[in-house]
């Protein structure tokens, strides 16, 4: 028999009304029933929020490295911690930058824009009069550095090609250096001491924040490469920063740079290269297992609580079907079809789950808001996707838990049900 659209609409409206009636008539029971779903949804959304937060914090950090910069270095970022594999590799020479640039200029179709040398140490100490900052990141480079970095200057200027070429004793400092060594006094033009050499401050970087919460770009002092080598020697940690033309063509750019470096290093075909080309994505792939672990734990916890919640709802719906046997019989006597009854009970369990889901979302929203207020540094993200996902999960839980009782209700014999006491 064909069910008209209109009939379906009216019956569904009736079922929705009845479900609301039923839930309002049994408030405490409905709430207890929904509790499992509430806990499940809080778990799912908290987990999602945490993962979102990690992602966002990470992306922010990676943006500091620059999405369009790749690095030629002695060791690879994606196998960090296996230093012994790279111990015997030759050092990266800062002169490679010049060689790379020459090749790039000759090739207009190159994926690479510019190469900049850098030599650095994390162990520098910066002094001004009696003030001393330890564990400063000192970096020697040339005047093109800014093209390959995300920082901006808040005052002053970067050093010029001329200053770089003649190894002037000038420096550009991070925000923490400026405020650490010169609280409440002008910074530009002052001299900061690295080891036994004094550098004149000509520029200050805008504050950038920490990279992965570990390493701060605000803690850096950038000087011309020659000047850096005069202070720290030639055997510091060196790398070549290479800016690429198209952010989307990182893979091609890496290929090209690999070939270039093999040529420069004169590595014969078939032999493994003795350098690494790194990009920020390597960090991301390192973080993925952690994220997956959190997600897996989250899915497990969420799954358990939703499972328990679903069983609770199934149980309560069975009880409800039993209690309302006469109502079911009457509705059938008055013309309700099997699917009408099925839908009525299904809508009821879905509605309980949806209400549970919404309450759960509210709780999570409140918790994330509170955490955000208490610890503003934590990257926490409550997203629309999560709202959508948890509502979908609620509906599915409702359907799964309501289906069996609803089917049993729809199959009840009308004559027997009408006489049920």
């Amino acid at each position: 028999m064909k069910l008209t659209n209109r009939q379906f609409r009216y019956e569904t409206t009736e079922s929705l009304k009845m479900a609301l009636f039923q839930i309002r008539a049994n408030k405490i029971r409905s709430f207890l029933t929904a509790l499992g779903v509430i806990i499940g949804i809080v778990a799912i959304t908290m987990m999602g929020t945490a993962i979102n937060g990690i992602d966002r914090g990470f992306d922010k950090s990676l943006a500091m490295l620059g999405y369009d910069v790749i690095y030629v270095q002695k060791s690879s970022w994606s196998t960090m911690g296996q230093w012994w594999r790279y111990r015997n590799r030759p050092d990266i020479k800062t002169a490679y930058a010049e060689q790379i640039n020459r090749i790039i200029i000759d090739n207009p179709r190159s994926e690479l824009a510019i190469a900049v040398p850098q030599s650095s140490t994390y162990q520098a100490s910066a002094k001004y009069r009696d003030r001393n900052l330890e564990q400063v990141f000192a970096l020697g480079t040339n005047h093109n550095y800014l093209q390959t970095a995300s920082g901006e200057l808040s005052s002053g200027r970067f050093f010029t090609a001329g200053e770089a070429a003649s190894d002037e004793m000038v420096c550009v400092v991070g925000d923490d250096i400026a405020s650490g060594l010169f609280p409440n006094e002008p910074v530009l033009g002052k001299f900061v001491q690295l080891k036994n050499r004094k550098f004149r401050i000509i520029g200050i970087f805008r504050k950038q924040g920490k990279f992965l919460g570990l390493f701060s770009f605000d803690n850096q002092i950038i000087v011309p490469l020659g000047a850096f080598e005069r202070v720290y020697g030639k055997n510091m940690f060196t790398s070549i920063r290479v800016k690429i033309k198209e952010q989307t063509r990182v893979i091609e750019a890496k290929e090209e740079l690999l070939g270039l470096m093999r040529r420069i290093r004169k590595i014969v075909p078939g032999k493994e290269e003795d350098f690494s080309i790194n990009e920020q994505r390597a960090f991301k792939s390192q973080l993925d297992p952690i994220k997956n672990g959190i997600a897996l734990a989250g899915i497990f916890i969420t799954g358990m609580s939703l499972f328990v919640g679903a069983i609770g709802i199934m149980n309560i719906t069975f009880v409800s079907v039993k209690e309302r046997t006469r109502e079911i019989g009457l509705r059938k006597a008055l013309g309700a079809r099997q699917q009408t009854i099925l839908l009525q009970f299904l809508i009821e369990s879905v509605m309980i789950c949806l209400i549970g889901g919404v309450i759960g979302l509210g709780i999570t929203f409140f918790i994330t808001f509170a955490i955000g207020q208490l610890f503003p540094a934590l990257p926490i993200q409550f997203s629309f996707d999560l709202v959508f996902a948890s509502l979908v999960v609620s509906v599915i839980t409702g359907v799964v838990s309501g289906l069996a009782p609803a089917i049993s209700a729809s199959k009840l014999d009308p004559a027997d049900s009408l006489r049920y006491e």
Binding site: R6, E11, L330, R337, A415
Partner: protein
């Protein structure tokens, strides 16, 4: 001239398996109900009148035999077709009233129209009219708990009539009412019969049966007597 048959039952049987025994609740019944018949079905308990009532009301199907309602062969219908027949052709009135306690009178009376796919405005209008017709125009928004037994049964009658059914099937409609109220309710059935409705009552009370124009007595699943007056 004879009025046309609304219900025709031929060699209709209903058997139940009880353990290894077969109970013949209805045994080769032949019955005919014509338009505007006003019938009482009587019989002691176990005589098969409940089973007959269930089959007449399309709440159950016979084991064998023919049951035609308004020219439709009901005996072979599936559950959903039976639901449609119950909705369109039959108005039920029960001994225990069977109103939904959470709904007010209007919403109770509307129920069959929802399953018939009638629009909300029309439902409300028809349900109000039906309630006015049974003398409850001032109780439309009341819940069953706020009404007397007689009033509740009148709501149930309004609900039975709402879809203009072919037959009204009343199962002990006065069983839970006092004598005066029973009399009132039977007067309503009388009025309905005068208006041309076909009514089948199930009762075990002789004085109630005597409001009708035809009395069918059942015994052991067979028709003992069928008397028109």
């Amino acid at each position: 001239m004879q009025t046309p048959s609304i219900i025709t039952m031929q060699s209709l049987s209903k058997f139940y398996e009880m353990g290894d025994q077969t109970v013949r609740a209805l045994d080769l019944i032949n019955l005919d109900f014509r338009k505007n018949d006003y019938t009482a079905i009587m019989g002691p308990s176990g005589s098969g009148k409940s089973t007959l009532m269930n089959i007449l009301g399309c709440l159950d199907t016979p084991t064998s035999g023919i049951y035609e309602l308004n020219g439709q062969d009901v005996a072979t219908m599936d559950d959903d077709e039976l639901a449609r027949i119950r909705n369109k052709e039959i108005g039920f009135v029960f001994q225990t009233f069977n109103l939904l306690p959470r709904l007010n009178c209007l919403r109770n009376v509307e129920l069959p129209l929802i399953y018939a796919g009638v629009a909300p405005e029309e439902r409300e209008e028809r349900a109000s009219k039906a309630l006015i017709n049974v003398g409850l125009g001032d109780r439309i928004k009341h819940k069953p708990a706020e009404l007397s037994g007689g009033q509740i049964q009148r709501v149930a009658i309004a609900r039975a009539l709402i879809n203009n059914p072919s037959i009204i099937l009343a199962d002990e409609p006065t069983g839970n009412l006092d004598t005066t109220t029973s009399h009132d309710i039977m007067n309503i059935f009388g009025t309905l019969s005068d208006a041309g409705n076909t009514i089948i009552l199930i009762t075990h009370e002789e004085d109630i049966a005597h409001y009708t124009r035809r009395i069918i007595r059942l015994r052991d699943g067979k028709i003992e007597s069928d008397v028109r007056r």
